[in-house]
Subunit: 387 residues, 2 copies
């Protein structure tokens, strides 16, 4: 009888493994207030697991290992958590700083970099073990440390980031991880507050909060230095109160244009990617936060800061005109497109829901419960530069 | 004793499943002459399994399911094989035509389309069961059937393909799979021999073997019809004998340019993606076959037809000048970049090898054996439009 029970138990164990899980259609949904994350499947529109004890997730972001098995969650409290998407478990977690603001994974997938406010700098860890590999204090002036923002991975096994207090952009080459090679670009402008890298990994652009405009670095020509672009895009006298600082990671490249939220204005800016000149400022019904292109670049989806955060505005990227408006619910905080763009998932925090839309018909496909969701990240990001 | 053996057997079964496999870093290598394919892991540079009995693979291509669990192999003999990358097995196979030339997977991952020479047309199957869903004979003129080439998936749950004998481009909308909606573009030029779609899924371009030049369809503006571009790009009196028909799938988009092999010439053409005008014809040491951009678009890698098929020529996409030349071995037939571009795998048929390079240092990282490899396809293709 005892042996039979063991056999039965083993049979159950085998059954549990009977349907192996592929990782191409998985995602992680951040649940801010419960310090947890949901593993979801985007084909079946289904929650697979809930992972808890992830710390302060108020500005959380996520990157994926190159095999798409692991998700790395960067928490606001300096926490770095490694989640196993196949075993539904937290496989490692460290608290590596007092206050941090995001991270990136190296081109080869071997290193995780985290950008910290306190102590200001970048720390680099083994993606496998989370063991510390390198510590890069963001020192400037009289031995001060700067907050670090806008950390991205770049081709050539590089990381690039901005020093908010120092007004600098640094590039780190990690070919020799024990001795990272640092190139510093100084006097790039006042208070870079976030940055993005174009999908091909060529252009790094930092937004300058202290003076308006942006700093542009062509990573194919670092010797040419940092150039200032769009100097007039914020005219301070026209500014509305900024309810939510736009993320440059909420910028998007579609076709020949960059689409970006204007800070403190009810406008989406359209910038020519060859000349870096403003093509058009499109009036929208609120202060844009995330401006995201459907993967085919035909539609631009925009969400807004309070009090307009129940809306999603679509823009036709061809005509540069407004198209449909959607009303997913209260406090739309984030959106993520399926890799080939047929659907989009929308995080509606105050309704505790994820809403899935068909991007052609704009019909709602389904809703899933989630506890105050504030971020959605799909595993296809593993294959993309700068995400 | 007997029960103990069962328990032991079950324990082994569990052990076999103990390390679950993620699917983000997998690939399939086609072994033409042995009718087989290798499942490989690009992180570990390792062969995981060999799948046999795949039929005639002389012009094989591969697409992946959206979860990256399954690879679909299109054989020359009309065979359509579904390979399970987690269980290392052939999970289904049909022979759906007498002679076929490639296929595609629908945007939502539910349908597989195959383009056939005999009988001329496109057949559509369930990606899940390979059950027949729709049959679209490529009929034209006096009830003739045309060979079908250049079949690609497009956003909006569409397939697009060209009719070689009819000189037509057809678009099929599969929103209602039982009743595909067909839009025909006629008189697009003589003998479209292959086609490509830009990575954003907007422009479909067919090469015209019967007259030189290309046919361009803007899928955002199908009402504008098909336009002729680059009418002079083949001047017949200059033609060299064409040893191998270039594949337009060997074209590439990088930054503002399209890079394409010139038919019957020792040149790579650089075409401006806004004006569709020729920017430059770059002389290269052979008749180019595949012209492929590293994912960051900074390097262009080119292989060649016989007798120059032991070379790989690199082009700097910034200066449009030739850079390094590599000598991977005898009969370089195909190349595939890792998704973020740090490495490239090269199929060297007559040396029975796969050669892996670091794309920065251009150093060889490793070689793996393979039986007459003629195609390499990585699972990250699952997330891309038109691949």
């Amino acid at each position: 009888m005892y042996k039979s029970l063991i056999v039965l138990g083993l049979l159950f164990a085998i059954t549990a493994y009977a349907e192996p899980r592929a990782t191409g259609d998985l995602g992680l949904v951040i649940e801010r207030e419960s310090h947890s994350a949901l593993i979801i499947n985007t084909t079946q529109h289904r929650q697979l697991a809930k992972i808890e004890d992830l710390g302060d997730l108020s500005h959380a972001s996520v990157v994926f290992s190159r095999d798409q098995r692991y998700a790395y969650v960067f928490g606001r409290d300096g926490g770095l958590s490694k989640i196993d998407l196949l075993e539904d478990e937290l496989s490692a977690r460290i608290v590596q700083a007092g206050n941090s603001i995001g991270g990136a994974i190296s081109q080869d997938g071997k290193f995780i970099a985290v950008s910290n406010y306190t102590p200001g700098g970048v720390k680099i860890f083994s993606a496998d073990t989370l063991e510390a590999i390198a510590d890069i204090p963001a020192s400037y002036g009289n031995n001060q440390l700067s907050k670090v923002v806008g950390l991205v991975d770049a081709p050539g096994q590089r990381f690039v980031f901005s020093l908010f207090d120092a007004g600098e952009i640094w590039q780190v080459d990690l070919h020799n991880p024990q001795q990272p090679q640092i190139t510093k670009f100084t006097n790039i402008g006042k208070q870079p507050y976030d940055a993005l890298i174009t999908p091909d990994g060529r252009y790094y652009i930092a937004g300058l909060f202290g003076e308006g405009g942006m700093a542009l670095l062509d990573l194919w020509h670092p010797e040419a230095g940092v150039k200032r672009i769009l100097p007039d895009y914020i005219k301070p006298d026209e500014k509305l109160p900024v309810y939510k600082m736009p993320h440059l990671e909420g910028w998007t490249v579609a076709g020949d244009y960059v689409f970006a939220p204007a800070i403190g204005k009810h406008e989406v800016l359209v910038i020519d990617k060859r000349s870096w000149q403003l093509v058009k400022a499109i009036p929208v019904p609120g202060q844009p936060v995330f401006v995201m292109a459907r993967p085919d670049g035909h539609q631009i989806w925009v969400n807004f800061a309070f009090p307009d955060n129940s809306l999603v505005q679509l823009i036709n990227a061809d005509s540069l005109q407004l198209s449909s408006v959607l009303h997913p619910g209260k406090a739309v905080l984030h959106m993520e497109f399926t890799p080939r763009g047929e659907q989009v998932w929308v995080a509606v925090r105050d309704d505790n829901q994820l809403v899935v839309y068909d991007t052609d018909s704009l019909k709602e496909i389904t809703r899933l419960p989630a506890d105050k969701p504030n971020g959605i990240f799909f595993s296809a990001r593993a294959h993309k530069i700068g995400l």
